[in-house]
């Protein structure tokens, strides 16, 4: 075999070797970055306590942007250029999402020439839910059984879980952005694909959500009126002013963009992304409880049908499957290109491989 990891014959004893940190000038920007990021974290927590959770896209984007400024201080100009392009792509992704989602209930206009509007699904999701739950409406059953004017612990869990949707994936993006651009790109491919597929379905399958199906104002009347106050449990634990932002965020949305549930999808996309790095099986199980709690909360809070959440999970799974295959294919193509450019060598003995 033609490789070795030993240092013979010009062996330098380990005690005589120069440490890399001692050989290369210290990067003074590193402690500056760390200090700024910790300061940001403290500032964010103070803001969270005193002003509430920022949930609208613009505020979240600004928060992420400030974090990135802290995390990239002292990096090379090229890194800043890449960051700038990433930010443009990130903003375009959200803009396309908001525009598409917002327009879904009006149909889609093709260059102003004609408009295609898909019929509003009023009963089919409810029928699927009833078929899955032996003739019961899960939303109605949960609210009848658990909802009261007094806020209980499950209201806090449901409300808090619901609200994580607005910040949790963005926190993950920001941390990945700052730590590994490669992993950030992997995450964003999956996330953007998920958003794209969801938007397509929002347009093609505008769906009445449970809260609307029971609201007399909409005259759909599939069942009695359900309570819709998703954030009250979160509000109850002392987050004073989040509701303004929450209402603002909803006002830009589309009430019938219910199928699939992006709340359920986002709650799965983050644990699913990190699952390969989580070794203990019990911890994997704990992490995967989060999307289950999210879907239960969505059903309890009358925001989604069960089938919306299951469809969201299915799309997330397919997105991961697709990108895992694509990434493997890209690696194979790059490897094949390299090997085909290498001149053919006579067969050698099987080598010991470099330890990973």
């Amino acid at each position: 075999m033609s490789m070795t990891t030993t240092d013979d014959p010009t062996f330098v004893p380990p005690s005589s070797r120069v440490r890399l940190a001692g050989a290369v000038p210290y990067e003074w920007f590193r402690p500056v970055r760390l200090t700024l990021m910790w300061t940001y974290l403290i500032g964010y927590l103070v803001w969270l306590k005193t002003r509430g959770l920022t949930v609208d896209r613009v505020s979240v984007a600004i928060a992420v942007g400030i974090f990135l400024l802290c995390a990239f201080v002292g990096k090379s100009w090229r890194t800043w250029g890449v960051l700038l392009m990433d930010c443009v792509a990130y903003c375009l992704m959200w803009l396309a999402y908001e525009k598409t989602r917002g327009a879904a209930d009006d149909g889609v206009s093709f260059f102003g020439l004609f408009r295609v509007k898909f019929p509003l699904q009023q009963t089919i999701m409810r029928d699927i839910d009833r078929a899955m739950f032996f003739g019961h409406d899960p939303n109605v059953v949960l609210q009848d059984r658990f909802w009261s004017n007094t806020i209980r612990w499950w209201d806090v869990v449901a409300g808090t879980t619901y609200m994580t949707h607005f910040v949790f994936p963005m926190i993950v993006m920001a941390v990945l952005w700052a730590t590994s651009h490669r992993q950030w790109a992997r995450f964003m491919k999956r996330f953007a694909t998920l958003l794209g597929v969801a938007c397509l379905l929002f347009i093609m399958l505008p769906t009445v959500p449970p809260w609307m199906a029971g609201d007399p104002k909409w005259h759909i009347d599939l069942f009695h009126e359900l309570h819709r106050n998703a954030g009250r449990g979160f509000y109850h634990i002392g987050f004073e002013s989040f509701q303004d932002g929450y209402k603002l965020a909803l006002s830009n949305g589309n009430g019938v963009a219910a199928m699939p549930s992006l709340h359920a999808s986002f709650a799965l996309v983050v644990p699913a992304f990190f699952l390969p790095w989580i070794k203990p099986k019990w911890l994997k199980a704990v992490v995967l409880l989060f999307p289950i709690i999210m879907l239960s909360s969505l059903v309890y809070l009358a925001e989604h049908w069960v089938i919306d959440g299951l469809a969201g999970w299915a799309i997330t799974g397919l997105t991961f499957w697709f990108w895992n295959r694509m990434e493997q294919r890209t690696r194979s193509i790059r490897a094949t290109r390299a090997l085909s450019a290498l001149p053919q060598l006579p067969e050698m003995a099987t080598p010991e491989e470099v330890p990973a």
Binding site: S2, R17, V18, Q183, A335, A356
Partner: protein, 150 residues
Amino acid sequence: MSMDPPKVLLERSFLEAVAQPEHADHPSCAELYRHLVAQFERQEILLVAVGDHLRSIELGDDLTTGARAKWFLHRAHKGLFAPVDALYVGFQHRRAAAATGAPGTDTDTDGTVAMTLVMCSRHRVRRVVTTNPAYKRYELELVHPDPAPE
């Protein structure tokens, strides 16, 4: 803890030996490279190289500014070093390399070694594939091909 597979830096001397069939170390380096590529394909390692060194070997040293800028902005993953990612060299890295290799210092060394050390330090690379014995002075995990048979 890094989320990425461990990075293996292909040092300039190794890149040259792989790229030049007439190089004395070419057979052993090419064979080693073949196995590194297989590990890359299995996602066990990431292959990286100092951008300046990789560009010089892929495109030569007589480059127009435009070609240099194009490579800097977007390097196509084609050819012999398609699996290798470039660690792009910035002004700050050049300054650090100049200080690292300064004559009379502990690490008085040539520019290529100094730049490689800087990039290893900044990108947290600990494993280097090289035929250059100069790296044995440093706390790096060296992977190098066996010398060619006489």
